[in-house]
Symmetry: C2
Subunit: 358 residues, 2 copies
DNA sequence: TTGTACGCGTTATCAC
DNA sequence: GTGATAACGCGTACAA
C-alpha cells in the first residue's frame, strides 16, 4: 500500500510549493488559473485526499459534532432495566419494532438532520460511560451531545470546560453543561387527569423503577396529579424489576393472581408499557376494560401494539435539532452561560386508556 | 476561553516531560506508580482532553469509520423521485412512519451497531455527492461506507485508492470499491411467481422509474419471471413520475379512470408501493381484490399500512454490519482484491397481495 | 502570485 | 523509568 500522498507530493508533481497547493483548495481565487489547473490535475492523478487530522490540528477545530450514548443494551442485552428488546434479529421481517426506533433513535435522527442541514459532520460513539470513552470522543469534536446514562460527572464537567456539551434529560447537576429536557412532570400530570376525569379511574398504579431523572420526574407528576385530585398517592412505584429472583414483573403477576390490579397502570416509558401489555395479555387481563395502561415517549411501537398505546409524546426530533443549534451557537464560547431548555410534551390518547381508536 | 491544555501544560504542572504524560495514557505500566498519579492529577485539574487530530496525525489513522449518504431529500424535499415522504413533522405523534425508518436508516443502524460492538467511532456525513464533500469525509476516516446516489465516479475511485470503501447497492462500475448488494432480481422473480401461481394473476405491471441499479435489477427480475411463466412482458415499467406536468402518478390515474389497471402492480420499492396504495384508496379501488400491490425493501411502514404490504425484505441490518466487517478487514490493505457480496432476500406475504393477515 | 518557515499536539525512537 | 527530539500533514504569516 503506497503511502498516502500529501501536499508535498502534489506540490512536487505540479511543480509548485505546498502553499500553492493549499491555496488551490482553500482560497482558489488567490491562485492563477493555470497554476490551479495544474495542481488539480496532479492531485487527481495522485489520488490526493487532504488529511482532516492535519487540518484540524492546524486550524484548531475538527469540524464535527459528536453524539455519545451508552451501550448498556449491547453490553448486557436482555438483562436488567425495562428494555424488553428482543434478540437483535433486526432483519426478521416481523421483527419487533419495539427494538427500533426508540427514544434515543429518534432524538439522534433530529440531531442528524440538523447536522446535515448545516453541513456538519457527525461523530457517533457509544461506550460504557467510562471517563476514557467520553474523553476520547470529546477530543474529536467541536461540541458534544450526550444521552443520559451512568456518567462520570467529573469527566463531563472537565470536558464541558473545553467544548460545549448538551445533555439530554439529565439533572442540572453536572455544571457547565447545556440541558435539553421535556416537561415530564406536567406530561404525566395531564395524563393522569385524563384518566381520572374522562375515564373515571380512581385507582392508579405507577410502574417503573426510578433509575433516571426522567422517571423520577414522571413519578413526581403522577403523585402531583393524584394529590391535587384528592386521590390516594402510592408511596412508591411498582418496581417491575424488584424481587429479581422471582423473575421480572413478579410484582405485577402477584397483583394479577390476587385480582388486585388497580384500574390503571401508568408506566414510566413506552417500552415498559408494551411489556406490561404483553404480560396482561398472557394472563388474559382485558385492556383497557379491566385495566388501562399508558406509556411515555411516543415511540412508533406504541402505534403497532394492540390495543394501541396511550402515551405522552416527547418532541424527540426537536430535541435533537435544538441540541445541535445550541452546540453551534456556543462553538466559540464553551460553557459560558449554559442554556437550559424544557420542551413541552403532548398527551396522545389511544386505545389502551379506553379512548376510541384512530 | 482559555486555550485548550496540552501535554505540555500537563507535563509542566506535573513536573515531568511530555513523553511521560503520553506514556501515562498509552502505556501506563511503563510509568512509575507515583509519577502516573501525579500526571493524572495534573491532567484532571487542567481539564486536559487529548486531541484526536494530533493523535491521528502522528499515528497515521483516525480511528473512525465513515458513512456517507446523499441528501437529495433534504435538498429538494417533496420533489421528484418516489419519495412520498410527508413534511418533516417528525414530532407529530401520528407522523407517517414512511418517513422513518427507511431503507437507508436500517442499513445505517446495522452499521452503527457493528461499529459500537467494535468500539469504532462512526462519522456520518451527507451531501450532494460532490467530489468535495466525499473527499472531505474521506480525509477523516479509516474506511468509508457509501449509499447509492449521483456519485462522482472518479472521486470515488480516487478515494478508494487510499482507504477501503464499501458501496451499497451500486453497480460494479466504480473500480476498486467493495460491494454489498442483495439479490434484487431473484427476489422480484420469486415474488412474481407467487402472484401468478398462488393468486392466479396473469396481468401484471411494474411501477417505478429505473433511476438506480437496484430498480433496474428488480425490473429485470420482473421480466425474467413473466417470460419464464409464458406471460406477456411489458416493454417498459410504468413510470409514476412521467408526464410530470400532469402531476405525479398521472399514468396510474389514467389507468384507473379507464378501468384498465392490471391485476397486480409490482412496485420498485415500499415507499412507492405505499404511495400507490394511497392513490388507489383515494380512487376507491379495492386492494387486493381489484388489484394486488407489492413493494420491495421491507420497511416498517409497510406493516402499518392497510392493507399490510406484501414485499421483499432486504437484510438491511446485516448489510450495514457486513460493510463494517469488510472495512475493518481491509483497513491495512485498501482496495487490494475488492470484495463483492450479494445477500439473499425474502418474500414477505401480507395482505396487499391477497394473502391472509398475520 | 508564489515560496519559506513555523506552529498545531501527539506518538514514537532514541539516549540517558 | 524518564527526557529530548524528530516526524506527522496542513494552514498561514511573512518574505520575495
Amino acid at each position: 500500500m503506497p503511502r498516502r500522498p500529501t501536499v508535498y507530493d502534489v506540490a512536487e508533481r505540479a511543480g509548485v510549493s505546498i502553499a500553492t497547493v493549499s491555496f488551490t483548495f482553500r482560497q482558489p481565487e488567490r491562485v492563477r488559473e493555470s497554476t490551479r489547473a495544474a495542481v488539480l490535475v496532479a492531485a487527481q492523478e495522485l489520488g490526493y485526499v487532504p488529511s482532516a487530522s492535519a487540518r484540524g490540528l492546524a486550524h484548531g477545530r475538527t469540524g464535527a459534532l459528536g453524539l455519545y450514548s451508552f451501550d448498556l443494551l449491547l453490553a448486557a442485552p436482555q438483562q436488567g432495566s425495562d428494555a424488553a428488546a428482543p434478540a437483535d434479529d433486526a432483519d426478521d421481517p416481523d421483527a419487533d419494532p419495539r427494538a427500533f426506533p426508540l427514544y434515543v433513535d429518534e432524538v439522534q435522527r433530529g440531531f442528524e438532520l440538523e447536522c446535515w442541514q448545516r453541513g456538519q459532520a457527525l461523530l457517533l460513539s457509544s461506550g460504557s460511560g467510562s471517563g476514557a470513552s467520553v474523553t476520547d470522543i470529546a477530543g474529536r469534536v467541536d461540541g458534544l451531545g450526550l444521552f443520559p446514562g451512568p456518567t462520570h460527572v467529573e469527566t463531563l464537567e472537565q470536558v464541558a470546560r473545553r467544548i460545549p456539551v448538551v445533555a439530554f434529560s439529565m439533572r442540572p447537576e453536572p455544571r457547565g453543561l447545556h440541558h435539553v429536557t421535556v416537561d415530564n412532570r406536567g406530561g404525566v400530570r395531564e395524563l393522569v387527569e385524563h384518566l381520572v376525569r374522562d375515564h373515571g379511574v380512581r385507582d392508579l398504579g405507577f410502574v417503573g423503577r426510578l433509575t433516571t431523572p426522567d422517571y423520577a420526574d414522571r413519578f413526581a407528576g403522577f403523585a402531583d396529579a393524584l394529590a391535587s385530585l384528592g386521590l390516594p398517592v402510592p408511596a412508591e412505584p411498582l418496581d417491575p424489576t424488584d424481587l429479581a429472583e422471582r423473575g421480572r414483573f413478579a410484582v405485577l403477576t402477584d397483583l394479577v393472581a390476587a385480582d388486585r390490579l388497580p384500574r390503571a397502570l401508568v408506566c414510566a416509558s413506552d417500552q415498559l408499557a408494551l411489556a406490561v401489555l404483553d404480560l396482561l395479555a398472557a394472563h388474559d387481563v382485558p385492556v383497557p376494560d379491566r385495566v388501562a395502561v399508558t406509556g411515555f415517549d411516543g415511540i412508533l411501537a406504541g402505534r403497532l401494539a394492540r390495543p394501541t398505546l396511550t402515551t405522552v409524546r416527547q418532541p424527540m426530533a426537536a430535541m435533537g435539532r435544538l441540541a445541535v443549534q445550541v452546540l453551534v451557537r456556543h462553538a466559540h464560547a464553551p460553557a459560558e452561560e449554559p442554556e437550559s431548555h424544557r420542551l413541552p410534551v403532548r398527551v396522545v390518547r389511544r386505545e389502551s386508556c379506553g379512548c376510541p381508536a384512530g
